[in-house]
């Protein structure tokens, strides 16, 4: 099976979320002035995470996060840190836009989203959309911040 057929198998997607939840990637913050940082917490849910990104010359070198959050928040953010690292801001923005389209239940290009397609059904549970977007909203803000600073 190729990657794409793997990523359409619900069992695999379930495992992916489980794995990213139990062993989140890039799950430690650094004390490094070159990183931009965004603390995200919402009053309507319990998630409380911080996302850091090192963006140099329009390229996202590294993304990290930490905090207390549910399966969907943790896994969606963990997947994001893998997916966007090494991308230019333009590439990252396209991925992020596609991700939000998927979460809104609209048309999206799954070729761009890799493991993030594990979140494709979250739009069916309106109360969890915040969970699936908390980390992604953070990186969106950090990318804008980086562009404004440039």
């Amino acid at each position: 099976m190729d990657d794409k057929s793997l990523l359409s198998n619900p069992e695999i997607l379930r495992e992916l979320i489980m794995d990213h939840y139990q062993y989140p990637h890039n799950h430690a913050l650094v004390k490094d002035g070159r990183y931009l940082s965004r603390h995200m917490s919402s009053e309507s849910c319990i998630d409380d995470i911080t996302v850091q990104a090192k963006i140099t010359d329009g390229v996202i070198d590294d993304i990290r996060f930490d905090g207390v959050a549910c399966t969907i928040s943790t896994a969606s953010t963990s997947i994001m840190t893998d997916l966007l690292a090494g991308k230019t801001l333009a590439e990252a923005r396209e991925i992020v836009d596609n991700y939000f389209s998927m979460i809104d239940g609209k048309e999206y290009d799954d070729d761009l989203l890799g493991e993030a397609v594990a979140m494709k059904n979250v739009y069916k549970q309106a109360n969890r959309i915040k969970c699936a977007t908390i980390g992604w909203n953070a990186i969106k803000q950090l990318m804008s911040e980086s562009e404004e600073a440039a």
């Binding site: 979320i17 849910c45 319990i46 207390v68 549910c70 059904n121 109360n127 969970c131």
Partner: protein
């Protein structure tokens, strides 16, 4: 004991959602048909403003609106002119804090409260502490947020002007010894403020017997409409307090020099057009509860909770934080499962509960966890619903919490 099947037939929400187990009554409650009819009837037959018109409809609106003070007076055992209508429990508490900031706390002083309080009984005090020479001190509590009178006595001192506590805490359902706390406050010449949001809907509240000075609660948590709260205050205290809101309907006269004469309590606290149909609906809700009997409601909820807890205790995957409380919600977690994940799974099984810190954000210092699931019952819930919730709770696991997305 009450006839729960007869009661359930009064609630359209139960009829319209036969598959739903609604255990989020701490957040809000369903409305019986009589309350809905009263609100709709006002819109269809009775619409007019209160305290203003010279025609029959307006007089009728006055009668119904002010008549609700009589009903609430009977409900709480107080005088009708001690009943102020507000927007909700939070609005009542903010009015209380503002009022006291210009009377007993005018020159500073200490407010005694607990770490188990809802935000609405802390944040208004915090702001006051920020702006004035007012100190917030906490009475120590045990693992379920209960105050012992020994600790309360130790915490009490001459600088304390106000004790402010929830009669029943919103997360753990712990019942505070309000009557004893009132006596203690009065012994020191202090006042007692009670947040009744989670107590008034569930147990008989006799303000004379408890001797509370000021009490706040919401209509929507006791089968009444949203957007209405009650502030009960001893009349002489209400007369001393200044209103938070100024405007129409609450002044007797004013002139261009800025001289304003306010009406008396309770009207002076009700600036602007009130939620007339909501207040009328609250009156019907209070009558409905009284017709069942608050003691019957409390007794039924106790036995239902005891049943629910006894079953929940048998579940190995569940940790319960307040099993020994006799009333109020059940606070629990699935072991090793984030509260929101577990609540999401329960939702997928048709069980409506709430996860989070329940607006009691410093409570974790007492129970040692940031978030819980809260299952809060009311008198229209049944043992069968408890059984369905228990069955669903058995399935709480990370795997199942993720499984709802596939």
């Amino acid at each position: 004991m009450l006839d729960v099947e007869k009661i359930r037939a009064d609630f359209p929400m139960i009829r319209n959602h036969p598959e739903l187990v609604y255990f989020d009554n701490g957040a809000t409650t369903f409305k019986p048909q009589a309350v809905i009819d009263a609100v709709v009837h006002f819109y269809e037959y009775g619409t007019s403003n209160v305290h203003r018109g010279d025609y029959a409809l307006s007089a009728e609106a006055d009668k119904l609106y002010d008549g609700t003070r009589d009903i609430i007076g009977e409900f709480l055992n107080c005088r009708p002119d001690e009943v102020v209508f507000t927007a909700n429990d939070t609005a009542s508490l903010n009015q209380i804090v503002y009022g006291l900031s210009r009377t007993v706390l005018k020159d500073g002083g200490t407010v005694l409260t607990t770490e188990a309080e809802h935000a609405s009984n802390l944040l208004p005090w915090y702001r006051l502490a920020e702006e004035r020479n007012v100190k917030i001190e906490y009475i120590p509590t045990d693992a379920v947020g209960l105050i012992s009178m020994d600790d309360a006595r130790k915490a009490m001192h001459d600088g304390v002007k106000v004790i402010s506590v929830a009669h029943v805490s919103n997360v753990l359902g712990t019942v505070q010894p309000v009557k004893e706390l009132a006596a203690l406050a009065h012994e020191y010449g202090a006042l007692i403020v009670v947040d009744g949001a989670q107590s008034v809907p569930h147990r008989k509240t006799d303000v004379k017997d408890l001797d509370v000075d000021l009490l706040a609660f919401s209509s929507h948590k006791m089968c009444g409409p949203d957007g209405v709260g009650v502030l009960y205050g001893k009349h002489e205290l209400l007369e001393q307090m200044d209103p938070l809101l100024l405007g129409g309907g609450m002044n007797a006269r004013f002139n261009a020099c800025g001289e304003v004469t306010l009406k008396h309590a309770p009207e002076k606290f009700e600036a602007g057009t009130p939620n007339i149909e909501g207040v009328i609906g609250l009156g019907v809700a209070a009558k409905y509860l009284m017709s069942i009997g608050m003691d019957n409601i409390e007794e039924y909820e106790r036995s239902l909770r005891a049943y629910f807890v006894s079953k929940a205790k048998e579940l190995e995957n569940i940790e319960i934080y307040n099993p020994d409380n006799e009333t109020g919600p059940l606070a629990f977690n699935g072991k090793g499962v984030f509260a929101q994940d577990a609540a999401g799974y329960l939702a997928s099984q048709g069980i409506a509960v709430r996860s989070g810190n329940h607006c009691a954000k410093i409570l974790h210092e007492i129970i040692g966890t940031d978030q819980t699931i809260r299952a809060s019952l009311y008198f229209y819930n049944t043992k069968e619903e408890a059984d369905r919730c228990i069955e669903a709770m058995k399935g709480i696991s990370i795997e199942n919490a993720i499984g709802i997305f596939f």
